[in-house]
Symmetry: C2
Subunit: 357 residues, 2 copies
Amino acid sequence: MSKRITIKDIAKLAGVSVGTVDRVLYNRGSVSEASRIAIEKAIEKMEYKPNIHVSALALRKTYKLCITIPQFTEGEYWDALESGIKRAIEKYEGVDISVKFFYYNQFDIYDCRKTFDEVSKYDADAVIIGPTFRDETIYLISQLEYLKIPYVFVDSVVENTSPLAFFVADPYTCGYIMSKLITGLTPSNSELVLFQAERIGDESANTTILRKRGFLAYLKDKKLTNKLHSVMYSALDLSRNDDLIGDYFEKNPNIHGAIVLNSRGHVIADYFEKKNINNIKLVCIDMTEKNIHAIKSGYIDYLICQRPEAQGYLATKSIIEFLVYRLSFKVENYLPLDILVNETVCLYEEFNNIDYL
Amino acid sequence: MSKRITIKDIAKLAGVSVGTVDRVLYNRGSVSEASRIAIEKAIEKMEYKPNIHVSALALRKTYKLCITIPQFTEGEYWDALESGIKRAIEKYEGVDISVKFFYYNQFDIYDCRKTFDEVSKYDADAVIIGPTFRDETIYLISQLEYLKIPYVFVDSVVENTSPLAFFVADPYTCGYIMSKLITGLTPSNSELVLFQAERIGDESANTTILRKRGFLAYLKDKKLTNKLHSVMYSALDLSRNDDLIGDYFEKNPNIHGAIVLNSRGHVIADYFEKKNINNIKLVCIDMTEKNIHAIKSGYIDYLICQRPEAQGYLATKSIIEFLVYRLSFKVENYLPLDILVNETVCLYEEFNNIDYL
DNA sequence: CTGTTAGCGCTTTCAT
DNA sequence: ATGAAAGCGCTAACAG
């Protein structure tokens, strides 16, 4: 359990020079069959593992990494994901990586289209995509595939694509456990309400729909017959929501539980706080700053988290290792769905600040 | 956002040679005040960050790392923690680290004492301690401090010690949320039972006690008056437990909820499965193989997890960075307490296999 | 007190 | 097809 095996050791054992070993290591040809076999045997036997950091040092290349995700403000979901990305880049100090972010408005399909156009023109070595609109994403991908630019997904996947990898949370399961939690929290057969955001233009295949499907599936699986309400609210014009929500709850006084199918649950929690409503249970998604505040003050009962920093971190790490070290990795990566309560949020908050990755 | 700053750049800007820069970087003296200031300014200005991997390359030292934790069998809590340690070591391929494990019997204080003696004799560069018995650990630490060997804790801390760092889950909060979960799961005022393991010799300050304290605190905070039973069982002689547990439940037919204050919850779950008991809710700790099985088959309702792999990984990483790169880091690290349900265990299982760290 | 230099493991160019 | 050698960023030993 000591003394590192180096390329030199392999060369010696195989009776060749380090140059030749390197050639077979990354099969760049010009090696006789005999040498190749000898070297492969030596690598096998000595369990040689190249030191990727030294490799990066010797390679001295620069890479252009491009990231396209929704716009966000501080403390929001995508903020966490972006910080995971940045953390990964810092981590690979040895590698010279230039990063360019392209942000689009996730509630406006036309803006997304425009942004994705810039992305395809950017000529990156690899791109990380946080998709929202299915068709726009498929179009972007067709461009990238034509240009032979590898890409990975974070947050969610678009079906029938061939990313290098994806790092997402499963929205169906997310909805499923939200259902489990809210029904566990409320008396049986309570009336429940689902809040979701509306988008401009197309809204097919977005995560919300899959979450809702999971939510309904749980009720069906458990043969629960709660009465459900579905309420759309605007994610763009926040000012109108207070009226909208207020109106809704006044007209429906029998609601015992609410869930919000996107990360904006705090909007509902804030309303409860303002009106001093304590008899409606609330289950939300994502550890945004505002949701954290709401769960701490007791207006959110459960918060489901999708580990956005880990998604960003892992996606970036995968890409870098692919580019620099030619390593391969798992394509399908589903992150855990953490269930947070009032008493555990602070632990997650703290841990997100640890350089744990 | 490109072109790495190197020690050479700093040397040039400060008008000195790289040797001098290196000297101030690790303050090994023999540098004039003027040079030092110029160099520090240059580092500041250019935001220079040494490439730690190259540093390790140039240092070419070997380190002896010693780890002392309880014995375990495959799939148990400490197995996960150990795999985190191993993962960290693989990660730092560039560094030549020899690792030696010393395992002790966590249910036998005399065996622990014997093992810790070997640890102090081993002359390691640093040691990772997974403590169980307080006094034995304090004794070990006094030896280590005398020998000036740095140490870090995983799993739990012993108070009034000065470790380099610790990576633990908070047992009090763990008990607290177990209380929250089990009372949420059962009708109000249900009779509840707490299972805990007995140890040979001393048992002061072990994690179980703190968990229990948290459990009781929740009941008090929420003014709950559930009737509580406390049952000890043997962690050493597993064969006797079935009778013991069976006896217990037959004599106490009014129990609606049970919690197990250590990672051996599956023992109770197995009993429920065998006897086909479905009306007693069960909350347990740790994602051991057996607990995973039990939660999947529905006999455990909630499982609290303490991220043992992350604990092991981070502890090892910290030590390596301290030894090799002289980096400093946060001393107190409380890992999140994950709440798992039937539907999310598999996500955690999968993720533990990702090389996420 | 300071500069120069060899060498860590790896990649790549240039002869051969 | 192959080896020799330079150079990546950093450390440490050595000379001055």
